[in-house]
């Protein structure tokens, strides 16, 4: 505003000052001038006006010219800036196009309705659809997805649809901006299924989802490697277990007296060998479990399951074992809850915790399986009246092959892998393990399972 007023104001000041100056001069000397040059009053007035004009004109001219020149310079600068911007935009566009083309992953961008706005060359190659065929169409409509068993994945369940739903009111935008991952099979244009690993990120502008970017890659080779690794592991597992099962059955045959009665020392020796064999079997089984876990070979199949069903299954397998040791296993729950989890993996985790509770409790001990909802999580607890864990050893409890000093004395059969496997399994299903323990009094282990929302 001030800048705009500066020119007319300057003009006004120059006009007023110049007029005053000329008028003042004529006021002082008009009689002398009229006398010296024998001028009439009218001529003097004209002369006055001419003087004023002559005096003001250069200033006005200077001002106007300067302004025009400056304006021109501004226009030139603006033009230059626009050209630079356009060049930069063009350069950036070319760079992004080159970057997308050079990526080893497929990239697809959509608007907020899931309509494809951009697709890179690699995505075209993986999907078999050209950009002309896919741009302007809804991505999930053109590219169908299935799970590993060939079951179609509904469009609204796919990551790209989930991020486009919008930001839930209570959710933090930054938190929502995190990418979502999924593994599925895309159906190529020719109908072939290709395994893909997908990452989808929402594009958020002023707290609104205006689109999404999906990055994916062909995981065929990875799947093939996984398959080979699984086969090798299955074979290794079989080859290690076969001699162990042979030893076990031969010892059992001898102990059962099929080939005649045994002397007490012979029976003792065989019992010891049997225990060693059982320990070796557990170790092999646990180590193979660890390899599977660490290589993420165990697939996750989450579904909605009632906590009552989980508890019922666990109790069924543990009651006879606990009875054998005169240990009571009780259940204490606040209600039946519906949870979204992999029930086999959750059962494995709880099996491990209850098995430890039973194995490290004295005869006539008590194991309490608890369940309650706490905030945004369902918490299973396994409480025992067993030997507890020494305070200074508690930090190492979830480490591979770690066994507490009192556990080694109390039960020689453990492998030190059970809790490590349980922690890996928990990680796989998004649960957390925690515990509290006092040596000589017992321990309580907790499995925290986050609930949705």
């Amino acid at each position: 505003m001030r800048k705009r007023l500066r020119a007319p104001l300057g003009l006004l000041i120059i006009t007023v000052v110049s007029t005053l100056f000329v008028e003042f001069f004529f006021m002082l000397y008009d009689e002398n001038i009229a006398h010296w040059f024998s001028l009439s009053e009218n001529t003097l007035a004209v002369l006055d006006a001419v003087f004023i004009t002559a005096f003001i004109t250069p200033f006005i001219y200077f001002l106007i010219i300067k302004r025009i020149t400056r304006g021109e310079a501004d226009i030139l600068r603006l033009n230059e800036s626009l050209l630079t911007d356009r060049k930069e935009t063009e350069e950036n566009r070319v760079k992004i196009t080159a970057l997308l083309a050079s990526l080893g992953e497929g990239v697809v961008a959509t608007d907020n309705n899931g309509v494809v706005t951009m697709i890179n060359h690699h995505a075209e190659k993986i999907l078999g659809w050209s950009s002309n065929e896919i741009i302007g169409k809804i991505f999930t409509g053109v590219v169908q997805a299935t799970d590993e068993n060939g079951k179609p994945t509904p469009a609204d369940k796919r990551a790209i649809s989930r991020v486009l739903v919008g930001i839930p009111k209570k959710k933090d935008v930054q938190q929502y901006q995190h990418p979502i991952y999924e593994h599925l099979y895309y159906t190529q244009k020719n109908g072939t299924q290709v395994p893909v690993k997908v990452t989808v990120t929402p594009i958020i502008l002023k707290n609104k989802v205006i689109g999404a970017v999906e990055i994916f890659y062909d995981a065929s080779k990875e799947r093939q490697l996984e398959k080979t690794r699984e086969d090798l592991l299955a074979l290794a597992s079989h080859q290690l277990r076969t001699p162990l099962s042979g030893t076990k059955w031969l010892i059992e045959t001898l102990i059962n007296g099929i080939h005649g009665p045994l002397t007490p020392p012979q029976r003792d020796y065989l019992n010891e060998i049997y225990k060693i064999n059982e320990r070796m079997t557990s170790l092999v089984s646990d180590m193979l479990g660890v390899i599977r876990m660490e290589n993420s070979i165990i697939p996750i199949n989450k579904s909605s399951v009632s906590t009552d069903t989980i508890i019922k299954n666990i109790m069924k397998s543990f009651e006879p074992i606990a009875k054998g040791k005169c240990i009571t296993v009780q259940v204490e729950k606040d209600a039946d809850h519906e949870i979204e989890t992999d029930q086999i993996i959750l059962k494995n985790i709880l099996d491990c915790l209850i098995s430890n509770a039973v194995n490290y409790s004295n005869i006539d001990g008590c194991v309490l399986l608890g369940l309650k909802k706490s905030g945004n999580e369902i918490v299973f607890s396994v409480k025992d009246t067993g030997i507890g864990i020494p305070r200074d050893e508690q930090k190492k409890l979830f480490e591979r092959f770690f066994r507490a000093s009192n556990a080694k004395i109390f039960n020689t059969k453990g492998t030190g892998l059970g809790l490590y496997i349980a922690s890996l399994l928990s990680e796989r299903i998004g649960a957390k393990l925690s515990f509290e323990s006092e040596e000589g009094k017992g321990s309580t282990f907790y499995v925290h399972i986050p609930t949705q929302g």
């Binding site: 299955a234 597992s237 079989h238 277990r241 076969t242 162990l244 099962s245 042979g246 076990k248 059955w249 031969l250 059992e252 045959t253 059962n256 099929i258 080939h259 079997t281 092999v284 089984s285 086999i344």
Partner: protein
Amino acid sequence: MNHVLVVEDEDFLVRALKDNLISEGHTVAVAMDGEAVFDELRKKKPSIILLDLLLPKKNGFDVLKQIRQSPEWQLIPVIILSNLGEDSEIKRALELGANDYFVKSQHPIQEVIEKVREYVEGRGSTKIGL
């Protein structure tokens, strides 16, 4: 007296199974590979088959499939005794018509013998022994 067909390629496991089954009063035939199974089946129809999965010449899954497709042998109870313990393998065997599945290293031989007794006495019901 019931006749049991043991399909197993490891000598020491055959020996343990054979000794225990005979002491129970059964007669036992042994096939050491997947093709010998059918020779033994032709010789004498067993009351039950104990079948390993990883076998020379023809694997246990294929043997099971062939048994279940044969009108003559399809009703014979088949118990899988294997050290393959993956869920997918157990599922596959049960889908192919196995009556039971035991992971050998995890079960005492007496459990297997008891299961055989249940089947030959007509008390057996399909249950996975894991």
